[in-house]
């Protein structure tokens, strides 16, 4: 992709001033690292990190039928949310293939916010519009794509609450998955207690023009609490340690949430929704392959997408493929996520990863791959 076509977030100048290394991601020019991936990763595990996630998309739905509409598109049960609560959920095709994974928040009685992946934003929006105009024409709701107007950042790590209290005392009182509207100068900011790192933390959605001031204020409040700016590199190693899926890796239009081990975010008991029939059948009959997390058990190079996975039960058969892999900065060994035949998906199962024509031992482990108490 030509650099001139890449979009820049309102924090671009701040990143360059901080000496960030910029890379293309989902059509955006984003910071991959500032001081170093491992250092930023460990800051998030031990203190705090601040991420620019302005590339993510925000869709707003309002109207008496917004719940009814969204609950037919999304796999989790949106009806369970009270005002000020959010949930992880997926957008699926009728055949159960994943279009995107996202967070859905209930902002008010009939108001909902969806936060979607940058790389899927346009596809999601087209899909949702097409659904609205075909199957759900008579429903009463308005939908707005706010992505172009809004920036976002994630403040993550054990010190995140202590830092955010300095600018938004009420945010520090939020419980996990809660969201609230707060004032920042003349701007309205949505703050939720959510994240993609496996740590406590917050995500803040802010109008573009106010993003630099909010970033600077958080950085300055964080100075005494060892806050570091953190890039997409650390975001990826943190989510891999946490065992979280990433669209384009664990999730594609050819995988279903059941195969991806995300059945907990599929409410099969709610009224009809896109993909329900296929997902119910998979849940009942089982699936032939399943997404696993694994850890290398001996010395080896880090596993990478799309290295092959082999069985370690004596016959050495190819049973799957790595979808994400890295050297874990917390554990100091290779870790990854991948798909294997379901018989090999149980935690504790020995497997082998083929790295440059040699096979190295690994073990299927429970998510998260890394936990501080472990």
């Amino acid at each position: 992709m030509e650099e001139t076509q890449l979009k820049r977030t309102p924090l671009f100048e701040i990143h360059t001033a901080l000496g960030a290394r910029m890379v293309e991601f989902g059509g955006w020019e984003m910071p991959v690292l500032y001081s170093g991936i491992s250092q930023e990763h460990l800051a998030v595990r031990q203190a705090a990190g601040l991420f620019d996630i302005s590339h993510m998309g925000e869709f707003l739905f309002d109207g008496p039928d917004s719940l009814k509409f969204l609950n037919q598109l999304l796999t989790n049960n949106l009806a369970k949310l009270e005002s000020g609560q959010g949930q992880y959920t997926l957008l699926c095709q009728d055949n159960g293939g994943v279009i995107d994974d996202l967070y859905a928040y209930r902002l008010g009685d009939t108001r909902y916010l969806l936060v979607v992946n940058a790389s899927r934003l346009e596809i999601d929006w087209m899909w949702i519009k097409a659904q609205r105009n075909s199957r759900h024409k008579s429903l009463q709701l308005e939908m707005t794509n706010l992505s172009g107007n809004l920036a976002a950042m994630a403040l993550q790590g054990p010190n995140a609450a202590g830092i955010i209290a300095g600018v938004f005392p009420a945010a520090a009182e939020l419980l996990k998955n809660q969201i609230t509207k707060l004032e920042f100068g003349s701007a309205t900011v949505w703050v939720s207690r959510t994240g993609y790192t496996g740590e406590d933390g917050f995500e803040l959605v802010v109008p573009n023009g106010h993003a630099p001031a909010l970033w600077e204020q958080l950085m300055s409040l964080g100075q005494a609490l060892d806050l570091l700016p953190a890039g997409l590199g650390a975001r990826d190693t943190l989510r891999t340690e946490a065992g979280y899926s990433l669209y384009g890796h664990e999730l594609t239009s050819d995988t279903t949430p059941i195969e991806a081990a995300l059945g907990w975010a599929v409410a099969l008991d709610k009224p009809s929704f896109n993909g329900q029939e296929m997902l119910a059948a998979q849940k009942q009959d089982g699936v032939s392959r399943r997404c696993i997390a694994f850890k290398m058990t001996g010395k080896s190079a880090p596993p990478r997408q799309p290295y092959k996975i082999f069985s370690a039960d004596g016959n050495g058969r190819e049973i799957g493929e790595v979808t994400s892999g890295t050297q874990s900065p917390s554990l100091g060994c290779g870790i990854g996520l991948g798909y294997v035949e379901s018989d090999h998906a149980k935690s504790g199962t020995g497997i082998e990863i083929e790295i440059r024509n040699r096979r190295f031992p690994a073990q299927v482990v429970k998510r998260p791959v890394f936990q501080k108490s472990s």
């Binding site: 290394r21 991959v32 991936i37 491992s38 190079a301 880090p302």
Partner: protein, 127 residues
């Protein structure tokens, strides 16, 4: 600014070469280690392995990616820096010293003429 010692020769693929008699010591440049970022794993060629100039012969891995290292010269591997096995970060800290990769017994010393001078290499990396 990346450090480019003037007593070494360089390959366009960012390896450095230091020659003593018929033996060449090879590593990667300061510029290369900076671009690769913090290294977490290094795979070196086997002792006795015969290489042709341009062969991929080692792999360096950062947290994010794996990259090939190429043989700048033809010859037989006579020594490898096994300390990198446990301390790959040495390449980041001291790319021209303790961070060396391997030694080759030169098969064709004339190939040295194909390598870049420090000035030419500086020109290449500063573009």
């Amino acid at each position: 600014m990346a450090d480019i010692p003037t007593d070494l020769k360089y390959a366009t693929s960012h390896e450095w070469v230091s020659v003593e008699g018929d033996t060449a010591t090879i590593g990667i440049s300061d510029h290369a280690q900076e671009e690769l970022t913090e290294l977490v794993f290094i795979e070196l060629p086997d002792l006795g392995c015969e290489l042709t100039a341009g062969d991929p012969c080692a792999v360096v891995e950062s947290v994010k990616t794996a990259s090939d290292i190429y043989a700048p010269l033809s010859g037989k591997i006579i020594d490898t820096n096994d300390a990198l096995d446990t301390e790959p970060g040495t390449v980041n800290d001291d790319p021209y010293g303790d961070g060396w990769f391997f030694k080759i017994r030169l098969a064709n010393p004339q190939e040295l003429d194909d390598l870049l001078s420090p000035d030419d290499y500086a020109e290449q990396v500063n573009i």
